[in-house]
């Protein structure tokens, strides 16, 4: 104990030793199975494999992706579809989640807050696959509840899939907004009540400005999650999602490019190039968002 106090150099060295020892197992898993593969993917993408022989081809896979009419056409199409998928999520999720969160935290609900919060979150605990099939059965023309082939029509297929996905995930933005709402100090709200402000005025005048940073968080997480979307499209529409690729998004395009699907042959090196392009796109958008928007949505200091 005495020596520990006096020997501060030894202390720092010991701290480094313990810090490394304790974080090493977690670092190992995280680096080897999450960080490294993302970077290794770039190195795979500058090669081609023919007859088991690997040869360096520089950026040819990228040139192919952006110049081959089929590939580049499908890529841009999938990207646009994906942006539509994201936009529908965002536009529907934010007002609905805000309404849910505002209602379950309103004074009138009180004791049932926890009940509503849990129930409304249940769809988010299901697998996307299950959710997709549940809805496909319900809207199936065979069953006759919905007469129109929503998934079989180009114009309605992607919005329909988006709504299934929103039905599932709405609980997550709701929880973010709910948590921000219940974190507002009670004395602020009490003061408003004493001043005679109505529930509506308290909400828009006091609560809403305090939870705006959550919208930034919801936007960026929705962006990342929808850009990584795959499960619901693949399980309902397959790996070459129709009708006529109208529901193809980046995840399914990437899957096809390296894994193949039906008569489409996959190519790991080309798939790696596709993954790298998607990764850079997500990275640039996310970084741009943090630089530009996050400054404006700075949390109000409480």
């Amino acid at each position: 104990m005495e020596t520990r106090k006096n020997n501060s150099f030894h202390n720092t060295a010991a701290k480094y030793r313990y810090l490394l020892l304790f974080t090493l197992p977690a670092l190992l898993f995280y680096v080897v199975f999450a960080v490294y593969p993302l970077f290794a993917t770039f190195f795979i993408s500058v090669f081609q494999t023919e007859g088991g022989e690997r040869s360096f081809i520089g950026l040819d896979n990228y040139v192919y992706l952006f110049t081959d009419p089929t590939q580049s056409g499908q890529f841009w199409h999938a990207l646009l579809n994906n942006l539509e998928f994201f936009a529908i999520h965002l536009i529907v999720q934010i007002p609905v989640a805000l309404l849910m969160a505002a209602l379950i935290t309103s004074d009138a609900v009180r004791r049932l807050t926890g009940f509503y919060r849990t129930i409304l979150f249940i769809p988010a605990t299901l697998s996307v696959v299950i959710v997709g099939f549940i809805w496909r059965m319900i809207i199936s023309p065979l069953w006759g509840i919905v007469g129109f082939p929503l998934l079989g029509t180009e114009a309605t297929a992607l919005p329909t899939l988006s709504f299934m996905s929103i039905w599932e995930w709405i609980g997550i933005p709701m929880i973010f907004l709910y948590t921000a709402l219940i974190a507002i100090p009670k004395d602020i709200l009490e003061a408003a009540r004493v001043d005679g402000a109505s529930g509506m005025r308290t909400f828009w005048g006091i609560k809403f400005p305090l939870i705006t940073p959550q919208f930034g968080l919801i936007t960026i997480l929705t962006f990342i999650w929808t850009m990584n979307g795959f499960d619901i499209i693949y399980s309902l529409m397959g790996g070459a999602p129709g009708p006529n690729y109208s529901t193809d998004i980046l995840g399914t395009f990437f899957f096809r490019s390296f894994f193949g699907y039906n008569n489409i042959i996959g190519d790991a090196d080309f798939g790696a190039a596709v993954a790298t392009v998607i990764f850079l796109f997500i990275l640039i958008c996310t970084a741009g968002y943090f630089v530009v928007l996050q400054r404006r949505l700075r949390p109000h200091e409480l």
Binding site: F22, A26, Y30, A34, P37, V109, R111, T125, L126
Partner: protein, 299 residues
Amino acid sequence: MTQTSISRRRSAPANGATRPSPHPRRHLPPSAFLIHGVLMVFVVIALGPIFMIVMNSLKTQQGIFGGPFDLPNAETFSFDGYFRVFQLGDFGNLYFNSATVTIVTTVLTVGLATIAAFAIVEYKIRLAPVLSAFFIIGIMLPVRLGTVSLLQMMSSWNLVNTTLALILVYTGMSLPLGVALMVTYFRSIPQELKDAARIDGAGEFQTLGVVTPMVRPGLGAVAALTMLPIWNDLWFPLILAPGRSTQTVTLGVQQFMGQYDSDWPALLAALTLGAIPLILLFLVFSKQFIKGLSEGYGK
């Protein structure tokens, strides 16, 4: 910011139920009925589809098509769908695989994240915040885009079509959120407690053992947040372990739906079997899960 999040954590479990009401036993204003009415509509939208699937899974094919909204009655009630699912879909094995992958990954993630987060909070040297930031970046990393490389890695280690491949990948991608969450929990432990343990002669490992029970809510949150996405994932089982013997429930249901697409009782039973365990799990862990969600991402 930290102050509010700590007080929130303490008050959350009792949320609503014991919050002192400034106007006890006040009459509900008319707007309260409207609010409950709208919320009930949301409840019906959230639970209705699940209820329809479960209810119809207990009917015969004729019952399902004859009256989709009718409860099963003596004439339409049938367990046949479930029998066929267990025969054809090998659901026992699917559950076993999903449970193995989910439990092993969750234990690994909670364990490793706890040790790492303890060290990051405890040893205040310049490297600690760097490591912390490195883990936090991982929360947003699109790990799926590394799949080509992961697949090559797994096949060179002969791990394709093993549950081990899934466990390794899932642990790697769950740890960032786990570490970030545990760091916030360890920060709330008073330094004096750890110093007291050391003065009593505890080594670093024993100190960790002393403080770990105090972050139990954090362990629950990390466990809940790790479990759900893993059980529900389709991507990695499809690519790394599609073999029949290593399939998870999610993948198994996906394939079953494609294979028996006209046997509605069996399809509905398969969906029910895929959905129910997770709903039950969530109802047990909902507090931990919701807390973990808001604290893990909410920075």
